[in-house]
């Protein structure tokens, strides 16, 4: 893994109407890494995402301390528009992210590039590429509002991919979707992760997160409660529960077995791992 694309040091932030939403938050994300952010409602996860592209503090105002450097740019010294070429932000509700100017999927993906003044030929090439990447090929001429939730959220991902940002920030991208939509979106995220994109993702579906996150950061009341590799964070079942986060069920099950029954299993964080561990223990492999 290469250099750090995101470097956050002692980030402390208050909205104009709310104090200390983030307190002394520090972490970094290296090129090609996936960082999962988890935590209860109101923990400050969305605020943290917005700090990565400068919406916090520029859009909202407020008090800020510490340092956020993304792709070599100090967010305090650059506008959101400048940062938007480096950081692609995807929100929860896909409908709310639509530009309001585009009639078709194609135009929607082109919107950001149009705003940034890219030449027309380049826009065309990038748009086709981004649409293909999220698997919406063939739907270029559709209205964005006729898409299913999963398709619309993949469209939202395509709109930021077209800008070729150095880092993708996804804030609960599956929270509003039905199971099929969730599956579609996770497939895209996993594919991007495999291809080496740098991703920060806030996600409540912890079982899914465990399958593709390299590192995990547990946020609560604006403070970092745990930060480390996915395994380090997720196997601390008591700690997760204390902060209102449900651990993956296989992790929890094994943890309880170890604690209550006295078994001595290695703690799995994904179903696949659990399958291996249990198959071995049962001697069926």
């Amino acid at each position: 893994m290469g250099e750090a694309v995101v470097k956050v040091e002692n980030l402390t932030y208050s909205y104009p109407r709310r104090e200390n939403v983030l307190v002394n938050v520090s972490f970094e994300v290296k090129k090609g890494e996936v960082l999962g952010i988890i935590g209860p409602n109101g923990a400050g996860k969305s605020t943290l995402c917005k700090a990565l592209n400068g919406l916090v503090p520029h859009f909202y105002g407020g008090r800020i301390g510490g340092k956020v450097v993304v792709a070599g740019m100090d967010t305090m010294k650059h506008t959101v528009a400048e940062l938007s070429t480096k950081v692609g932000l995807v929100f929860q509700d896909p409908e709310d992210q639509m530009s309001g100017l585009a009639l078709t999927v194609y135009e929607e993906v082109a919107f950001g590039l149009m705003m940034l003044g890219f030449p027309r030929e380049e826009i065309d090439a990038r748009v086709r590429d981004a649409i293909k990447k999220v698997g919406l090929g063939g739907l270029e001429g559709r209205s964005p509002f006729e898409l299913s939730g999963g398709q619309m959220q993949r469209l939202a991902i395509a709109t930021v991919l077209a800008i070729k940002p150095e880092i993708l920030v996804l804030d609960e991208p599956t929270a509003q979707l039905d199971p099929i939509g969730k599956f579609e979106v996770f497939s895209v995220i996993k594919k991007l992760a495999e291809e080496g994109s740098t991703i920060v993702v806030v996600e409540h579906e912890i079982e899914e997160l465990a399958t593709f996150a390299d590192n995990i950061l547990l946020l609560d009341e604006g403070r970092v409660r745990a930060y480390g590799s996915a395994r380090e964070v997720l196997e601390k079942v008591d700690q997760l529960r204390k902060y209102g986060v449900d651990p993956p069920s296989v992790t929890e099950l094994t943890y309880i077995l170890n604690k209550e029954v006295g078994t001595d299993f290695e703690i799995p964080i994904t179903i696949e791992e659990a399958y291996k561990i249990y198959a071995e223990a049962l001697g069926v492999s």
């Binding site: 002692n10 402390t12 200390n20 002394n24 520029h58 105002g61 301390g65």
Partner: protein
């Protein structure tokens, strides 16, 4: 929770107001439109397409309210009402202005009679002077194409023979109920809007 804020912090001035206005204005315009649609669905006895202008003024200030109302009129003028109707956009600016004035004077408390008295005077009687000027200058000052106001128009015209008075009374008869009710609606909604949406000072 002990306060561990050890790092130095700086105050940042927000830059979001401009882009918020860019989104708020079309929302106000669209709400004006939908307000009218819902009136049709319910067959309620008002126009119902100005309370959003008032609401926009109450929560985001005069400029946003006026621009939202103006935009609504422009769009209606281009699609269904015809070009001269864009002049009604100025009527919406007048409504935003009156709302802003009422807000500044503190006539926004629905428990106080003053709020109703001033709403009836300003929206019901002063504002129609403005609409009367428009409807005569640009639309010839004929009767409206709704039966009740048209009947009032005909009655005033035949009893007094005063063309301007007939227009004014016709407008008062539609504006008093519509604008006063719209103002009340906008105040009720504004009181339910969470604080963080309120940009107007």
């Amino acid at each position: 929770m002990p306060e561990e804020a050890t790092v130095e912090t700086v105050e940042v001035t927000p830059t979001g107001a401009k882009i918020l206005a860019v989104v708020m204005i079309p929302t106000i315009a669209a709400l004006n439109y939908v307000g009218g649609v819902l009136v049709e669905m319910l067959k309620a006895p008002i126009w119902g397409d100005t309370w959003a202008t008032m609401l926009g003024t109450l929560i985001s200030g005069f400029v946003v309210g006026a621009a939202g109302g103006f935009l609504y009129n422009i769009i209606m003028a281009f699609t269904v009402w015809g070009l001269p109707n864009w002049v009604w956009g100025f009527a919406n600016v007048a409504i935003a202005l009156i709302t802003w004035f009422m807000m500044k004077m503190g006539w926004t408390d629905l428990k106080k009679p003053m709020t109703y008295i001033m709403a009836i005077i300003l929206f019901g009687f002063i504002y129609p002077i403005f609409t009367t000027a428009i409807s005569i200058g640009l639309f010839g000052g004929g009767p409206l194409w709704k039966p009740l106001p048209a009947a009032i128009y005909a009655a005033v015209l035949s009893s007094t023979g005063n063309f301007w008075l007939a227009n004014y009374i016709q407008n008062v008869s539609t504006e008093v109920p519509d604008k006063v009710i719209s103002y009340i609606i906008s105040l009720i909604i504004a009181s339910r809007v969470p604080k963080r949406f309120i940009l107007a000072k």
